[in-house]
Subunit: 684 residues, 2 copies
């Protein structure tokens, strides 16, 4: 019997995949790692799993009978779904089934994860050559005439079968070896790391091998659970970095270490515990793997649960501070001249040494660091983007809590780090917050009326399509702040220097009675859940100006270093890069001159590179090559750095981006050089 499958896409995460026809939507969400809330355990008594079937066309989906594809309406659903909601396509995820292709929107209320971490895996073309390989061996049972040891018996079989020799074995594996071989009646599945060490032996045919590629960011941690045999990403897991409680940025973490004798140990223990919670998540779920064996031309599928011992490899990428704190290396030198890390080179560390609750004999591959401020996450970006393999000159900007810049091609590659400050992540901004539900993530401002429209995370309709009370806004995240500042500039609320205009066309302008600080209201108190007007202050604008100037100056100095006037493409990496509007970033002069269609957001490229290193051991060698060969450029040492930075503070920087934007945004606004946003298509 062929198992019929259908395509399902979940929004807003964008996760997609084929699932067997007939399963519930909640079950489908589990298999695709979306995690719809279902606290009652699909007993149809809580109504938490309410989702919405979307209409319309979507790549790959056959959606002609969209609502019908979720199966017929069932009695009982009306208990939780109003007639109006039913009209809009709402269904209970535990009742509705997958009967055909489906595009499903999961409302915030039904999302199990509180934090919005958009780190879905990009499709990557990876040669699957994992560090761990599994072999099935059939051993000759020992006899009095041939009483060789268990380990030697396994080695002999591996040498004969696959030509491996000089193998070692992990002590923990050796401890169970005899019993395992006996249990499997001398048939076993042996996992070998780097053709060097036996790290797992299972009786009989084994239970697969899995790996985790983990991107440890200062704020968020994302992990891809991969099938090491097929390379398939079978789940994406994410969480806040638990160290956030010690401070939002790298500097405050380092300070916490300096001020607390056990600070480093505590922060390390916290991130390890966090990683273990991701592992636990993965272990608690069921996954459907398509088997290599086909049945009458149709791939068969297998539902599995992963055991800790089955996780046999891990790769970890992080910035140098996250790297040092995780490994309990003194992070202080990272923050003081001359900013040296303890180690550049990649490391292989036993899982049990790090306290990771996977197979204790597994090795954890830690991506190498490029420099004191440019860590393994950037190496990951380069593994994914491969500027060192191309003729075209790429500028790669990874904007996280710090900004890391890479410029070059196969001939020469330089990197640098710029202190963007945390403003682009919503920190140190009056109403700033992380990209969590309730945060303003998009802003438009009418250049005539200075009226504001905005969208918050977790709610689809913009303010203009909602009643004010429905917005429940809590603050502004990085992309919202960038939008707001750019739009304020485009609307003439800010002048070239970033100062507030005196020309007030709406009641949104404020001046603090005591401090004199000017501000502009983005959301009125009634549109918030904090009962305060949410404003952008002059101070906030300055923070964004500094951040963008810092990035711009870095790029320009690097271009000068390489003696180039322009770049062939700009890639924006990082979660922030996925959220920001690149056009607006160009408007405020964050990036150097580049054709708009050559600016690409590459998402969590660090995580992608980490995944590449997980799945292809040759890429680990390449990672070290990158870290060794990329040239670090300390921007603050460059002549004219301060001058350039001051120059770049202005909005927009007049020499580069603006000339370029002219073509796209024909001038019409008050400021002769600033195009009307409507004409430019920048506002709806």
């Amino acid at each position: 019997m062929s198992a019929k499958t259908a395509w399902v896409i979940f929004q807003p995460s964008g996760r997609r995949g084929q699932v067997p026809v007939g399963i519930s939507i909640v079950e489908a969400s589990r298999r695709l790692g979306v995690d719809i809330e279902a606290p009652c355990g699909e007993k149809q008594v809580c109504g938490k799993c309410k989702i919405r079937i979307e209409q319309g066309s979507f790549q790959k989906l056959n959606m002609e009978s969209s609502l019908l594809n979720a199966g017929p309406w069932q009695p009982g659903e009306e208990k939780y779904i109003s007639a109006e909601e039913r009209e809009k396509g709402y269904r209970m995820g535990c009742v509705a089934t997958v009967e055909g292709d489906l595009l499903i929107f999961v409302p915030e209320a039904a999302r199990a994860g509180k934090q919005v971490v958009s780190k879905a895996p990009r499709p990557l073309d990876i040669t699957i050559n994992p560090a761990v390989k599994q072999y099935r061996v059939e051993l000759v049972p020992p006899t009095l005439k041939d009483p060789a040891g268990d380990f030697e018996r396994v080695c002999a079989a591996l040498e004969k079968q696959v030509g491996l020799n000089s193998l070692g074995i992990d002590l923990s594996v050796l401890r169970g070896l005899h019993d395992t071989l006996e249990a499997g009646e001398w048939k076993a599945t042996v996992s070998v790391w780097m053709d060097r060490e036996i790290i797992h032996v299972q009786p009989g045919s084994g239970s697969g091998m899995f790996g985790l590629a983990i991107d440890v960011g200062t704020t968020t941690v994302a992990a891809y659970l991969c099938d090491l045999a097929s390379g398939q990403v079978i789940d994406t897991l994410s969480m806040m970095n638990p160290q956030v409680k010690y401070g939002e940025d790298v500097v405050s973490r380092i300070s916490f270490h300096m001020e607390n004798p056990d600070g480093l140990q505590r922060m390390s223990a916290d991130i390890v515990a966090g990683l273990n919670s991701l592992v636990e998540q993965a272990l608690s779920r069921e996954y459907t793997l398509s088997s290599a064996h086909e049945n009458e031309g149709v791939p068969t599928e297998q539902v599995i649960r992963i055991q800790p011992e089955d996780i046999l490899d891990v790769s970890i990428a992080g910035n140098t501070a996250m790297h040092h704190i995780l490994l309990q290396l003194n992070p202080v030198p990272l923050g003081v001249i001359p900013f040296t890390p303890s180690v550049h080179h990649s490391l292989d560390i036993k899982a049990r040494e790090l306290g990771l609750k996977i197979n204790p004999a597994a090795h954890i591959f830690i991506l190498p660091n490029e420099a004191g401020f440019v860590g393994g996450d950037n190496v990951g970006v380069l593994l994914a983007e491969e500027p060192h393999r191309q003729d075209a000159i790429q500028l790669i900007i990874d904007i996280g809590t710090n900004g890391e810049l890479v410029l070059g091609n196969k001939d020469r590659l330089i990197c640098s780090s710029c202190a963007t400050g945390p403003a682009l992540e919503g920190a140190q901004i009056e109403f700033g917050m992380r990209a969590a539900p309730g945060a303003i993530e998009r802003v438009t401002i009418d250049p005539e009326t200075h009226d504001v429209d905005f969208k918050v995370i977790g709610r689809d309709p913009w303010r203009s399509y909602s009643t004010p009370e429905d917005m429940k806004t809590k603050g502004i995240c990085g992309s919202g702040i960038l939008d707001a500042v750019a739009q304020m500039f485009l609307a003439g609320i800010l002048d070239n220097s970033g100062a507030f205009s005196e020309h007030h066309v709406s009641n949104r302008f404020r001046t603090h009675p005591e401090t004199g600080m000017k501000s502009f209201v983005i959301a009125w108190a009634k549109e918030t859940s904090i009962e305060k007007d949410i404003v952008i202050t002059q101070q906030d604008v300055r923070q964004i100006q500094l951040a963008k100037a810092s990035i711009y100056t870095g790029c320009k100095l690097m271009m000068k270093k390489l003696g180039i006037e322009s770049v062939d493409s700009i890639k924006i990496a990082g979660a922030f890069g996925s959220h920001i509007d690149c056009k607006l970033a160009l408007v405020i002069g964050m990036f150097p001159d580049c054709a708009l269609d050559k600016i690409v957001s590459v998402g969590n490229a660090a995580g992608d590179g980490c995944r590449i290193a997980l799945l292809n051991r040759d890429k680990r060698v390449e990672a070290d090559w990158i870290a060794d060969n990329i040239q670090y450029m300390e921007l603050t040492l460059e002549e004219n750095f301060q001058w350039q930075l001051m120059e770049a503070i202005h909005l927009p920087h007049m020499t580069d981006a603006f000339d370029h934007l002219d073509g796209i945004l024909p001038g019409s606004a008050a400021n002769s050089r600033i195009p009307g946003p409507k004409a430019a298509g920048l506002i709806p």
Copy 2:
């Protein structure tokens, strides 16, 4: 100033060495690892350190003025030493000094260790090429222009200085690396294991590197503390194997594991704790090392205390059961057909993995196993005796709780194991005990009167030179039992079959009124501290007969296997081998025919080999070569095994040893083939 030195030998341990003239005898004992009791800390107030200066000549010693060589008698010594004792040469060890060559006897009361473990190091000719090497490096401090990582900086220096490359580093070392380099102002001492991994970094010039070669026996554990730079043995430490509480022999340990779910873990934890107590002993002492630097032609000396981190290498040899239990490998298969170990090959295990409290990054080298019954201790014996490098055919007999036999030369080497049972170690013998103070270790029996003379461990004078009450005998140890049985046989108390003679010439003959078991009194109740006559029973004799038959049969079957009629030499290894009287062993037919002067006791050759492996890394490769290439012969599979064993039960075995002994021991006793022991010089 030239530092004059003198030779000192301590008895009964036999430890010897040169010490500076002028130091106290207690201090000299410390430097040579003898450990005289000095609980008052040399304050001359406890009198515990009473030792005896011996007269007479001794190889290497200039003893013409023996008593004067210990310096003049000091007022205060008479407080603890009687006039009679003074006459005999007694002195207080903390008062008497080394003024010339000395032979010093340390009475039991003054010996710090309670257990008599005679495992003094033999002088060995070892090429010093340790697995761990230390290098002093001077690093270029990092600057903004050259901000390379700490690890990379160390690697660059090592590559430039000694050509090492592709080095790894232990995580625990990396954790402290930056602070260490800074503390040493970028001068450091780096310890590298096997040219592969940095396992220790110290600021400045470092504090030396030390290693432990540990022989883990079923009953006793001996460790040699070595200076890895010079190869010098700076201390010998020993203790009972703490697992003895679970049973005297290997089988009872394996049973303990089978009967207790946590048995293996407990036994492993016990031996690890034991090894840690040896380490603690070493750390608690002061050692004098001769420095490599000479001062006006005279070697200078340095008094040091070793820190845990300075112990950078360990080699461990044990029989397969001790090996498996230490490493928590299932020992059950060792005891059931087909007797396979979990692993033959040598292992390198991190100290912290094993819980050894030395430098946590150090590797512990575990010597390989030859077969299920022939372990790393035997490999150690072969590393020390090197039969595989010689033309002469050696028979090596390692008698411990099990007997391991090796036969061959450079062309072919075979090994086997024989179940001697624990009788030769004093177990399963009516009054048997370990070789501890109070144990009868030597026995002679007058062939005419059947009167017995004996000596106990811890007391110099034989019974015939003592009052009965002074003997305080507790039991008989292995060598005493062997002596007793051989002497009973020579005196005609036992006949050829090992049965008690009916011809009773003394009141020492007994027959148990109920069981009918015959016995012979060795020590009268008044000579004991247990208030019972200590006897050798018919059953005891049978045990010894079985043990010796087992060894003899093994040797003969191996000789048959190699097609040889005689061997060029017999080497008796093991502590038991050091204690037994080889002539008497020949008398009862324990060994095959061999000229008496070709029978050599080689002491703790396993420990020697372990020391060789510690000090010369090439020998570790040789160890694996030996384990791979030696051919194990399972005696019980040999045709005629049972028949041969039955044949060999007789006293003496008539075909081999006896013919040979004829020459040495001209016949005169009742049994026409048995020489009179007096004539043979077998009794005083």
